[in-house]
Each structure stands twice: as C-alpha cells, then as structure tokens.
C-alpha cells in the first residue's frame, strides 16, 4: 500500500444531542452558542438548581418499530440510530462493503448502568422473583456498540472503551490505529452516553453534582474513519483528516514539563481549539493551552464521559477546508488527549 495514501480520513458524521437529531442541528446549536441545558426537575434528585441536557427530540419510534425498540436500553438506542446515520452519511449502504472489514470502536461512559440499576432494584425489592432476565444482557457497557454492530451487520473490530471524560478520544485513538494496521477498512468511532436519574443520584450522594457530575448531557457523536485510499477508491466524501493523536495517562509528579511536551509539543498551532471533558478547568493544563479561537460544546450541550464524540464531530463541522483543528480533552486524574484534525479534503486543500 502506498504510505502516502495511508492517511486516516473522516468520511461520515452523526450526531444526536440536546440540539436535536443530525449534524445540522449540532452545527446550528454550536454556532448559536446558547445553552440547551434544562433544569433537572426537583423530584428527580430531591434538589433544585441543577441542570442536564437530554436529547429530548430523540424518539426511538421514529427510527424503528416500538416493539423492537423495547429490547434496547436508551444508550443502545442512541448508538444504533447514530451508527445508521453515520453509515448513511459516509455513503455506506448495507452490502456495499465486506462486513468483516467494518468495525466499531466506541467510547461509552454510563452505558449499562441504567439497566443494572433497574435489574438490581427488582432483586432488592422482590428477591429472585423480582429479577427481569431481559434486562441483564444490556447491563454490559459494550451493549451500545455491540447492539449497533448487530443491527448494522458490522463484523470487524468491536471494542468499547471508557476512561473518564476521555472515553470517546480513547476510542478514536484505538480506531485510528486499527485502520493503520489494516484490521479494517472502515471504523465507526466516537462516543455515546445517556443521562438518567439513578446516576444523578449517585453523583449527588458523592457530592459531585456541582463538580464533575454537573451539567451532564447525553447523546451520540459518531465519526466514520477510513484510510484515504479506501475512501478515494469508493469515491467517498472526505470531510476531514484525522492527522494525529497524542496522549498521556496523567501528569507525573515532578515531571510536568515532559508531560506538556508530549501532549502539546511546540509549536502548538491550529485555527480552532476544541476543548472537551475538564480541559477548560483542569489545573494542570491551565496556562498551557494555546491561545487560539476556542470551541467548547459543554456549555451548550452539557458534558458526559463520552461527549468527546460530539465535540470532535462539532470540530469537523466548524472547520473550513484547509483549516487545522486541535481537540484537547482532559479528565480529573487523567487521561489527557490532543488530537489533530485537518478540515476538508487534504488533497483539495
């Protein structure tokens, strides 16, 4: 294979969020910059003054028969529908590519926990008689990606990753590598998350509703990655280039400079800086982020562990052809990511 054609490019996007369904809704919401966070009803957590950003416009029945929708948890529904939208955006129709060459590597923060909570409530309130076996298969965090793979026939690499607020970026890193290694021709990556009362009550119990658990959002942001040559061979649109990924696990005590050098080596330039997770408030990063025009979707759409998928999709949407984007994501206690995105088709630009 010609290494020059081995660049990884982005050929499709999907977004479901508090902004609505689809990438145009995301683009418009980010442009407007108005918060879509809503007050959490007091009866949900027994307190007022807290906010969430739910994807209220998302109704599974708009995309599949209600009986079918009932077998999925909400996180899986978001992933199944968004994966279908992403494939369509990339111009991939069922049967057009070898199924074993299409994979999915997804970040998922809170997936499975809602089902686990409901399953255990049945047990604790009614004993073994209260167990609902149909809930159990979807208590696993990989239910979202795996249900999406089943629904869309994706038989290539299939991995779910979680690591704090960098879950989607961790998935992006892995997906990109799998393509470089020729483990697949196309990989859907990004993140999916749901927000639900039981988890908010956990945040409340841990005293995190005004810190890490504040302003949680939900949704799915999926990017379709493939090698440039593969995309060109099938005459796919090229929305952006996924130029590079740098990461550190956490700042090493007494060796912070080395950490900055690894994550954000000089010169650190870009036309647009996308921030995700806790990057805007992270004390370690403070003063080390480049002074660039910023894109921060959290005040608009809320924040979640895998919201990086939506943030990276928003960055791709906002970059003009030829512009460069730098996506920086951080988490309390790590990890940290810096991802370089090139706007538009790298050859045309």
């Amino acid at each position: 294979m010609d290494p020059a054609k081995n660049h990884i490019v982005i050929t499709g996007l999907a977004a479901i969020s508090a902004a609505g369904i689809g990438t145009e809704a995301l683009r418009e919401a980010v442009k407007r910059g108005e918060s879509l966070l809503q007050p959490i009803p007091e009866e949900v957590i027994g307190q007022s003054g807290h906010f969430w950003a739910r994807a209220d416009a998302f109704r599974a029945a708009d995309f599949m028969p209600p009986l079918k929708a009932r077998k999925f948890d909400r996180c899986s529904l978001l992933a199944v529908v968004a994966a279908g939208m992403a494939l369509k955006d990339a111009g991939i129709v069922a049967g057009s590519l070898e199924p074993t060459r299409i994979g999915i590597v997804l970040g998922c923060g809170l997936g499975g926990i809602a089902n686990a909570d409901e399953f255990l409530r049945g047990y604790f309130t009614s004993g073994a008689e209260g167990l609902q076996p149909m809930l159990f298969p979807n208590v696993v965090p990989n239910a979202s990606a795996s249900n999406a793979s089943i629904e869309h026939g994706l038989k290539g690499p299939n991995v779910t990753v979680i690591q704090r607020f960098c879950s989607a970026e961790s998935a992006f890193h892995m997906a990109r590598r799998f393509l470089e290694e020729d483990r697949a021709d196309v990989i859907l990556t990004g993140g999916v998350d749901e927000v639900f009362p039981a988890m908010l009550n956990c945040f409340k119990a841990m005293g995190q509703l005004r810190s890490f658990g504040a302003n949680f959002g939900e949704g799915a942001g999926i990017l379709v990655l493939e090698r440039e040559q593969h995309a060109r061979n099938r005459k796919a649109q090229i929305l952006a280039g996924a130029a590079g990924v740098r990461t550190i696990g956490r700042p090493a005590p007494g060796a912070h400079e080395e950490g900055y050098d690894r994550l954000l080596p000089e010169p650190c330039t870009a036309d647009l800086l996308s921030l995700s997770g806790t990057a805007t408030t992270d004390k370690w990063l403070l003063g080390h982020l480049p002074e660039l025009p910023r894109l921060d979707i959290a005040p608009v759409l809320g924040r979640s562990l895998a919201m990086g998928g939506l943030a990276m999709a928003a960055l791709v949407l906002m970059l003009k052809e030829g512009e460069t984007g730098l996506h920086v994501a951080a988490s309390p206690e790590g990890p940290y990511y810096a991802i370089d995105i090139l706007g538009g088709d790298p050859v045309r630009s």
């Binding site: 076996p133 090493a252 990890p335």
Partner: protein, 406 residues
C-alpha cells in the same frame, strides 16, 4: 503496511491474584495439580439462587495488603488489581528503567466496583443513607486510574469494557501501544470480582451450573462464576533484552471482532470464532500447524462449548483432533472482565512448563464435543505457540496468539 514493521512484544512481568492462587507461584501449582477453586460462595447471600457456588477468593483480608485508609478508598476489584499488578511490576522491574510517561495502563474491566455500589443501592432502597464511598467504583474505569496513580504509570490510561473479552483485548491493545512506540512498557490485564449483579444475572438466564462447571462434558449446565485479577508487563523485546529483563513469552498477535449475531448467543456455526482465531494467527504470522493447543473460552454452557468445538474444526480442519482445546475455567471459575487475562496467564505458564492443562470436572463424553479436551489429565507438550480465546456478550470476540520464551 506498517504491520510488517511490528516489533516483537515480550512479556517481562506476570502477576495474579485469584481464587486458584494468590500469586504466580501458587497459581502455577494449582494449574499443575488441577486443584479447582470452585466452592461455596459466602461473599453475599446466594441462597435465593439455584447455584450457590463459584471461585471466590477466600481468606482475603485487605489489611494484609493495604492500610485501613488505603483499603477504604478501593473496591474489592481495585484491591485485587493493585495486588496482581504489583507482582507483575516487581517481576518486570520495568518501571525503574523508563520515564513514567513511557509506561501506561491498559485495563480490561468488568463489573468493577459493583459489589460495593450494590450495598449503597440496597441501603438507599431501605431508606437509609449508605456510605458514599461505596460508589467510588461504580464506573469501570476506576481501577485503571488507581493503578496509574499507585504505580506512577503516566504514559497511558484506558479501560476496555467488552464484558468477558475485556482483559484479553486489553493485552492485545497493550501490545499495540508498545509496537507503535506510544509506550516503552505497558501494564495490561484485568480485574473483576463476584457481585450480586452478575451472580443473579447469570442465574436468571439459567446458565449457571449448580455443580462445578464441566466444560465440554456431557450434561454440562453452564458456568461457575469466579473472581480475580491478572496482569502482564509488555515491552519491546529489544528493550527487554537490553536491560536484562527475564522474558516469560511473547504476544505474537491478536484479533478482535464482533459477531454481529446476537447479544447473548454465539453464531451457532462457529465461523466467526474461527475467523477471529485465523486473524490472530495472521497477525502473528504463524500457521495453524504451529499451534500446539488452544485455551478455550470454554465456559461450560452447552452452546458455547459446542460452537467453539465447531470453530476448531473450521480452523484446523483434519488436524483439529490433534490440537487440544482446553478450558481452565473449571479451575478458576469464569472471571468475566478478568477472564481473558487469567487465561492468557495460564497459557503462558503452561507453555513454559511444557504442559497442556487439564479440563477439570469431566462428567462424560458429549458427542457434540468430540475433540481432545485433556479431560483425563494434563499432557506433556513441546508446543511453542498456543491461542487463548475470549468470547463475550454482544458477540465481542478476542483471540490472543501467545508463545513461550525462547
């Protein structure tokens, strides 16, 4: 393609903490003698369930390993992970040779801190205020963070959560992180523990055997759950040799895929499992003829064992009866998120000892499972290469191609 430039990934550290052995030495002894760790579970009330057995880590006192303050900050899974990872890191001594940014953590997670979170939920449902610290491990990424902090591993931090294939994938991905030069060394593996969620869940699906699991046997009724942690330290072979590290074996290659068939049932034909095994061999550049034996996913459920046997026939063809397919779950129980790492560890230990381990708890020949499962006892083997399979809810499938030390 850059796969041609892949480095040879050496295993320079091993660590385990499980019901079958609380360190590599005792685990090896259990493997060699075939002493099953499956017995009565008393970690929580199991009376409501048809099966009350599992491979529980018994006689475990956290204060034998941690201060009260340290133990209070960690779930049972975190504690198991820190203990096993500590053994692997001491064995490797890699941490003293690299910058903290050159070593990272690739974790395979499962139910994680669910056991403690269940206690909080139970209290809340009873109208009482549970200790919030019980919720610390509710998310499965917590153990990786604790390992990174405890051992000052600052280069990378992630948790793969693909149920029962999590930690096998974490080892494969860890090898990739070294192969790409992202890291000089990586701590990879998994940790998981028994919980009411998984115990009641698998029982509700009626896939738990009331007797110790008997993979590939006639009359098998399902799994026996287990718990534990296993970790490896991986490095580029050249770096390992340069610093004089002991090499326990190699990660030759791996493959991950989704079956895209069903959330809880495997494709009955076994074609996808065979495909993933073949892909792992292709990545390893090893022919099927070089494979001495396969450490099966081998859960003991009627369907899994039949499908895995079919996959063996698809992969090895006429040679299938000569390639033992063995399950170590009769020894360790099914350790879920840690299963892949525990079984990869068992595979490496047995390759180096020149044996193929016994599949325990034989009940009789099943006509649907007509291969060599080493039911009658361990066998001597000069094999250099073995595969280790991990299958999971969602159709997530991982295969590791492993070899012994040179």
């Amino acid at each position: 393609m850059d796969a041609t430039k892949r480095k040879r990934i050496a295993i320079t550290g091993l660590g385990i903490f499980s019901a079958a052995g609380k360190d590599v030495s005792s685990f090896t002894e259990a493997l060699l003698t075939g002493k099953s760790a499956i017995g009565p579970v008393d970690l929580f009330d199991v009376a409501p369930f048809p099966s009350g057995i599992g491979a529980q880590v018994k006689e475990y006192d956290p204060l034998a390993y941690f201060s009260k303050r340290e133990a209070g900050k960690m779930s049972r899974v975190d504690q198991f992970g820190v203990i096993a990872a500590g053994e692997a890191l001491r064995d490797s001594a890699a941490a003293s040779h690299y910058s903290p940014y050159e070593i990272g953590v690739s974790m395979g997670a499962g139910a994680s801190g669910m056991l403690q979170s269940e206690e909080w939920l139970s209290e809340a449902l009873a109208g009482r205020r549970g200790n919030p610290s019980l919720l610390r491990g509710v998310l499965p990424d917590r153990t990786a963070t604790i390992l990174a902090e405890t051992y000052n591993l600052c280069g990378y931090q992630s948790s793969i959560t693909t149920a029962c294939s999590s930690s096998a994938s974490s080892i494969g991905w860890g090898a990739d992180l070294v192969a790409t030069g992202t890291l000089k060394a990586v701590l990879c593996g998994g940790s998981d523990c028994l919980s009411r969620l998984t115990f009641s869940g698998f029982n509700s699906l009626k896939v738990v055997d009331p007797a110790p699991c008997s993979p590939f046997s006639l009359g098998r009724q399902g799994i026996s759950l287990g718990e534990g942690a296993a970790f490896m330290v991986l490095e580029d072979e050249t770096d390992a040799i340069r610093r004089g590290a002991q090499i326990h074996g190699y990660i030759l290659g791996y493959a991950v895929a989704g079956e895209a068939f069903h959330m809880t049932a495997p494709d009955p034909g076994g074609a996808d499992a065979a495909r993933v095994m073949q892909q792992a061999l292709d990545r390893a550049r090893v022919s099927t003829g070089a494979v001495g034996w396969v450490n099966a996913h081998g859960t003991g459920t009627p369907l899994n064992d039949m499908v895995e046997s079919k996959a063996m026939k698809l992969l090895f063809g006429e040679r299938a009866p000569q390639v033992p397919l063995v399950s170590t779950k009769g020894l360790t129980g099914h350790c879920l998120g840690a299963a892949g790492a525990v079984e990869a560890m068992a595979t490496i230990i047995c390759l180096n000892r020149g044996i193929i381990p016994q599949t325990l708890n034989f009940r009789g020949n099943d006509p649907d499972c007509d291969l060599d499962y080493c039911h009658q006892g361990a066998k001597q083997s000069a094999a250099r290469v073995a595969l280790s399979n991990s299958f999971a809810f969602g159709g997530n499938t991982t295969c590791l191609a492993l070899s012994k030390a040179d």
